[in-house]
């Protein structure tokens, strides 16, 4: 009896392991198909039945694609939005999180509810008035409109997440520092921030991904071709080279590889960031 149940347990584990592997490979398939198509010649890519791998790897596709898809410039452009935004998000969300976690002040409850409630606000609802406001002051064409919001609190979600972390740190630490005459700014930067470094790294990495992947923002605010971001460049490339699939797949590969590398380098922080967003809320 005991034996039988043990065997059936092992049977289930094997079935589950197989199912997971099959599903996992299916999830990876689009990435494989993209890479494989990006290395094919025109004859190979339209062959029937489709080839699994190119016969000779045509890295030349990348060279040709780069002529119409200025990848280096897209990287520079995207980083000139993402890097200042990461700084803004980390700074201003930590400040707000500190106030909510550590200070007592009038109307605290109200502000907290409003700031956190704005998390549920769909961004698409307010794109028009915000655009109108930027164009009234003549800043609707360029990076300003994309960077400034990062300095205005850095997103309710990040404030909430960092606050939750500050709350887990014993107050004795900062109270001792206050007795020693430290200011709140010093406590935030020299005591609390180093202790919550993992969550700050998570927030920073997710902010990078957010800006790298954003398309609606650049569509509205970046109209000059030489200022295009990577996602925007990719969208334009697709509409311009509609059916040259090997070139399009090469461009997709270039746009996808950087976030994937960053993801694998900082995997732990990505996974933790997502887990905490779900479990702390």
């Amino acid at each position: 009896m005991k034996m039988a149940s043990h065997n059936s347990d092992r049977g289930t584990s094997i079935v589950i392991a197989i199912l997971i592997s099959v599903l996992g490979l299916a999830v990876l398939f689009p990435f494989f198909w993209m890479a494989r198509s990006s290395l094919m010649s025109n004859i190979e890519i339209y062959k029937y039945p489709p080839l699994l791998l190119p016969r000779s790897w045509s890295f030349v596709n990348y060279a040709t694609t780069l002529r119409a898809f200025p990848f280096a410039r897209y990287i520079v452009n995207t980083l000139s939005i993402a890097v200042p935004s990461i700084v803004g998000v980390l700074l201003t969300s930590s400040f707000a999180a500190y106030a909510f976690a550590r200070l007592d002040f009038p109307l605290k409850k109200l502000w907290f509810t409003l700031v956190i409630g704005s998390m549920l606000m769909p961004t698409a609802v307010t794109i028009i008035p915000i655009f109108v406001a930027w164009s009234t002051i003549g800043l609707s064409n360029g990076y300003t409109a994309l960077i400034v919001p990062a300095f205005l609190g850095g997103g309710a979600f990040n404030i909430f997440l960092i606050r939750q972390f500050f709350m887990t740190i014993p107050r004795d630490l900062d109270e001792a520092a206050i007795i020693d005459g430290a200011s709140h700014g010093r406590i935030l930067f020299q005591i609390l921030a180093p202790l919550v470094r993992p969550v700050l790294i998570s927030v920073g990495l997710f902010t990078f991904i957010l800006y790298w992947n954003d398309i609606l923002g650049p569509l509205i605010y970046v109209s000059r071709t030489e200022q295009n971001t990577i996602s925007q460049g990719l969208a334009n490339f697709k509409s311009g080279f509609g059916t040259d699939w090997k070139a399009i797949m090469a461009a997709c590969c270039m746009a996808i590889v950087p976030p994937v590398s960053i993801y694998f380098a900082g995997q732990k922080y990505f996974i933790e960031g997502i887990v905490l967003s779900g479990l702390k809320a």
Binding site: S13, I16, A17, I20, L23, V27, L28, W33, M34, Y48, P50, T92, F95, A99, L103, D104, F105, P106, L114, V115, S118, L120, M121, P122, T123, A124, V125, T126, I128, P129, I130, V132, A133, P149, L152, G153, I159, R171, H184, I209, N213, I215, L216, L219, I230, S231, A235, I248, M249, C252, I256, P259, V260, Y263, I271, I274, V275, S277, G278, L279
Partner: protein
């Protein structure tokens, strides 16, 4: 908590200043702005003309696109949320068993979530391509007729739902973390009482997971209702408006046709639409969410 003194109040407001500016300038004032602009006819070039509720009357009575857009958005969001929750819960449940290389597979399932949607949409559109795409090749092997995945009005939204489900790796990570928090002792108690795997699942796992299911459902609903990228990059709202999702319609009216007034009215309706769905969902939560210790 640092005691309330004029000094701490000043520090607190100084620290909160950026976030409060954000609250006012990125949420509250724009919300009022949407209402204001929605009462005008305005292309952004000349000054706006006040036309009262005309935009709304037009949307609800003669706007050819509005009803189609609402239907397409609801269809997509319902499909993507329900299949996404089922898919991600199943995968997380399996990953929670003793699976070889679990960490690796978790990373794999999460991967589609962090890559640019524009890139993955394009890759999927290549796989969906009617003549040379890999899906139609598989159908041909199975002797099934070709499908015009993204060009057939009946197939476009289901095809985009599949892409969305593929991309919902964050849900898997959250579910998995939740499952790992289900206390072993509870599950063992069921075993001691002679319960089987189904009993454990039905009476321990599911009830303890309801708060996380709720959170994932809510977040997934709000984000899927805002679907935009595939409609923009692959189908431009077509074929026959089958993918004319709300955000794409707002974008098209506002930024491609410069109808700020009309687009603002659509935005406000969209907001109310999401708010109602969220409220409905919250109102059901008391009935099925299990809170430990109650």
């Amino acid at each position: 908590m640092t005691k309330r003194t004029p000094r701490t109040t000043l520090t607190a407001y100084l620290f909160l200043a950026p976030a409060l500016l954000g609250l006012f300038f990125l949420t509250i004032f724009p919300m009022l702005g949407v209402i204001g602009i929605s009462l005008t006819k305005w292309t952004g070039l000349e000054s706006p003309t006040y036309i009262g509720l005309d935009n709304y009357t037009e949307i609800f009575t003669s706007d050819f696109y509005f009803a189609r857009s609402v239907a397409a958005t609801l269809y997509f969001a319902l499909g993507a949320v329900i299949s996404g929750i089922i898919y991600s819960f199943t995968v997380a449940f399996m990953l929670n068993k003793k699976v070889p290389a679990r960490g690796f597979w978790r990373s794999v399932f999460f991967l589609p979530y962090i890559v640019p949607a524009i890139g993955t949409s394009i890759v999927w559109s290549w796989m969906y391509e009617a003549n040379f795409g890999v899906f139609n090749y598989v159908l041909r092997l199975l002797k099934i007729a070709k499908v015009q995945w993204l060009q057939d009005p009946r197939m476009a939204t289901p095809s985009i739902i599949v892409m969305a489900v593929w991309g919902c790796g964050s849900l898997i990570v959250i579910f998995l973390a939740g499952l790992q928090n289900v206390p072993r002792s509870y599950l063992e108690a069921v075993e001691i009482d002679g319960g089987n795997a189904w009993h454990k699942f039905r009476h321990i796992t599911i009830p303890l997971m309801t708060p996380i299911i709720f959170f994932n459902f809510l977040m997934s609903m709000i984000s899927n209702l805002q679907i935009f990228v595939p409609a923009y990059a692959l189908t431009q709202g077509g074929p026959s408006d089958a993918t004319l999702y709300m955000v794409y319609l707002i974008y098209r009216e506002g930024f491609m046709r410069n109808n700020f007034g009309h687009a603002s009215a659509l935005s406000l309706i969209f907001f109310v639409f999401i708010a109602i769905l969220t409220a409905l969902f919250f109102s059901t939560s008391r009935k099925w969410i299990f809170y430990e210790g109650e």
